[in-house]
């Protein structure tokens, strides 16, 4: 049975990863009809939502699990996967458990998490530091200290693409790394506005100020172009999620030799359990509904998980798979995961509305030096106050 699957994975590493899913699904005798929408979630999501609400749903669709699809579920447009989940004992195999929480609404499971993406990475170009003649930094603070040397060598210390979610994400990473897990949770989970206006967060803003100064010469838009700056040694480093690893791989770079990764920016080694999940709109066609079940099972199949996540550069959602093929960085991630040093990610904690406002704020903050740290923090606190 043909099943149309929409997603916004179109960059090199992503596309390769999707191919794995498609291969696995096609192997079950069904057919994966690829509905890639380029751009980002921002471009793709309205199309997906329009189609679901417009009565022309696809067979399955990618969302970031969390609150993006909450209302669609509430409106009864999405398929309840509890049966499949019970059959596949998802509650047992999915790790960490909190991942499934994001898919659970009123006790029913509505989505299949396929990977764990963590944002908390600093990717460094070994070549760039060599060229600048400074040793590879071990954490964010050393990195900031090395910035002048990099700049002198004509290298952009930190690559931050123009898209708003990159600046906003970078700040969130700094919040968790520089501020620490508690700070992060207090701000985003408890939405403590007073705290957000306080000195703890001010420290983070100071770090963000460093970041924007280091990034000011980045003239690219897309995240992977920024990554490419690091890959080619034009930039010293980039704060980006583990999906960036896919790009290094496609470029044929080896972790540890050509590039270095610092989870939690080397300050606070935690991993956020964000990630992608597949949702299944409620379909009338019985064959397709059946195929949806098959796809859901396939997605969580250990083999698929490995193949997909290796290409994608993300971590698998089940702990019982064999990841010997994983590279240096991935192993670091797995180790942290094993330690249980996980935090929930903003997709789960904040509504898209708040996320967007946050993006607007940090996009402005990173692009506009005149926006002072104090003003930005004040606006951030206001935002947290009204967040939901």
């Amino acid at each position: 049975t043909d099943l149309e699957v929409t997603h916004w994975w179109t960059s090199g590493g992503e596309a390769a990863a999707v191919a794995e899913l498609a291969k696995a699904f096609d192997a079950t005798g069904n057919h994966w009809v690829d509905g890639a929408i380029a751009g980002s979630g921002g471009t793709a999501r309205p199309i997906m939502i329009s189609r679901i609400t417009g009565g022309d749903p696809m067979g399955a669709t990618q969302f970031n699990h969390g609150r993006q699809a909450e209302e669609l579920v509430q409106a009864g447009l999405m398929r309840d996967l509890t049966d499949v989940a019970t059959k596949g004992k998802w509650t047992d195999v999915v790790r960490p458990k909190s991942l499934l929480d994001g898919c659970t609404i009123d006790g029913k499971i509505y989505c299949v998490p396929v990977n764990i993406h963590s944002w908390q990475w600093l990717w460094l170009s070994n070549e760039a530091f060599a060229k600048a003649g400074v040793p590879l930094p071990k954490d964010w603070n050393e990195f900031v200290a090395a910035a002048p040397a990099l700049e002198k060598a004509g290298i952009i210390p930190l690559a931050v693409g123009g898209q708003a979610w990159q600046s906003s994400g970078a700040f969130d990473v700094l919040l968790a790394a520089v501020g620490g897990t508690d700070t992060f949770l207090k701000v985003y989970k408890d939405k403590d506005a007073k705290f957000a206006a306080g000195p703890e967060v001010a420290k983070v803003f100071k770090a963000a100020d460093d970041a924007r100064k280091m990034a000011k010469n980045t003239n690219v838009q897309d995240w992977n172009q920024a990554t490419n700056l690091v890959i080619t040694g034009k930039a010293g480093g980039q704060i980006m999620g583990d999906w960036a690893q896919g790009e290094f791989q496609v470029a044929g770079k080896t972790a540890g030799k050509d590039y270095t990764c610092l989870p939690g920016l080397g300050l606070n080694e935690v991993i956020a359990t964000g990630g992608d999940a597949f949702y299944f709109p409620l379909l009338k066609d019985a064959d397709k509904s059946k195929a949806q079940e098959v796809l859901a099972e396939t997605l969580l199949d250990p083999k698929t998980q490995v193949a997909f996540n290796l290409k994608k550069g993300s971590l698998p959602v089940r702990g019982d798979v064999d990841l010997n093929a994983a590279n240096d960085c991935m192993k670091k991630g797995l180790a942290i995961l094993a330690k249980g040093a996980v935090i929930p990610w903003t997709d789960q904690l904040l509504s898209q509305d708040t996320q967007k406002q946050k993006e607007d704020l940090f996009a402005e903050f990173f692009a506009k030096p005149e926006l002072t740290v104090e003003d930005a923090q004040k606006r951030f606190a206001d935002l947290i106050a009204s967040a939901d």
Binding site: T10, A15, V18, V33, G55, Q225
Partner: protein
């Protein structure tokens, strides 16, 4: 104001001497006026042509040359690979068939949309110009104001409307959407055009016994070539170039070319492949461009007939 009519007068001038003007006034080809006139036009022409030039040149270069060279320099080594790639092998997600699929989808979307929207708008314009009934103007004004509404505002209500009539996601749905959004300007054009036709012609046809449709089909239509050309050009351009409706109201297997273009351009794999992007860009714009190059003259004439008369 002929430019170069000096030859005749030089002969005459020689015969008569300067003191006795005879024949046409001698004009120098390089007068201040001509220098200003052609100079300005030339500079403007360069401004307008530059992007096209850059697009074409870039699309014929290989990536290394682009990275090193100058965007304005002609390609050292002409390669058509970017064109081939843009047309047939560039990937979006798992689909690696470039723009080729989108091209046919665009044709399948554009042709019926253009036909339907022009059919509706021409009949509307005709009814407004010749068969005015009470309230018609009010609807027309609403329509004109509607032309100013940002499309984004209408996406959601239209999703609902299409869902209710069960056309969401189908090609017919998209065709209807294009017809709706083409209606204000086209109706205005047709209304103005038909109003500028002699009223007596219409009356003569009524006396002859032709009805609403008879007059429209047999009298008005054969006289409306210029405005139809304008309408066709505007609609072909508008619909072919549409991205928003194409992406929102269709499904991947019917994505038009612009959506494919966006996918190709935004599916960055490592470095941006500017040459492929440019080739894809040109390919996407080719159909409306050809339409313009062929019928530009009629366009101006039609505009004069339909748009300028208030």
């Amino acid at each position: 104001m002929a430019d170069i009519t000096a030859q005749a007068s030089t002969a005459a001038g020689a015969r008569q001497g300067i003191t006795d003007p005879y024949g046409p006034k001698p004009r120098r080809v390089i007068s201040r006026r001509n220098v200003f006139l052609y100079g300005t036009l030339f500079v403007m022409a360069v401004y307008y042509l530059l992007p096209l030039y850059v697009m074409v040149v870039t699309s014929l270069k290989g990536m290394p040359e682009i990275r090193l060279g100058n965007i304005f320099s002609p390609p050292l080594e002409i390669t058509f690979e970017p064109w081939v790639k843009a047309w047939s092998t560039a990937c979006t997600g798992l689909n690696c068939d470039g723009l080729s699929r989108g091209f046919w989808n665009s044709v399948r979307i554009t042709v019926p949309s253009v036909l339907l929207s022009i059919a509706i708008a021409s009949v509307n314009g005709y009814a407004l110009a010749n068969w005015r009934f009470k309230g018609a103007d009010t609807f027309f004004i609403i329509l004109i104001v509607g032309a100013f509404i940002p499309y984004q505002v209408m996406i959601y209500p239209i999703v609902i409307i299409l869902r209710e009539i069960g056309l969401y996601g189908s090609l017919s749905g998209l065709v209807i959407v294009h017809s709706i959004f083409g209606m204000p300007i086209l109706t205005l054009l047709f209304r103005n055009y038909f109003s500028s036709m002699p009223e007596e012609l219409f009356r003569a046809a009524r006396v002859d016994g032709a009805g609403f449709w008879g007059i429209f089909l047999r009298i008005m239509l054969p006289m409306s070539l210029p405005i139809f050309v304008v309408a066709i050009i505007l609609q072909v351009t508008g619909i072919w170039n549409d991205f928003l409706f194409g992406v929102v109201y269709t499904r991947p297997d019917t994505y038009p070319m612009t959506v494919q273009l966006n996918n190709i351009v935004n599916s960055v794999q490592g470095v941006k492949e500017y040459n492929v992007n440019m080739a894809a860009t040109i390919l996407t714009g080719l159909v409306p461009l050809i339409v313009y190059f062929i019928s530009g003259k009629l366009f101006v004439r039609g505009i004069a007939a339909g748009a300028v008369k208030g």
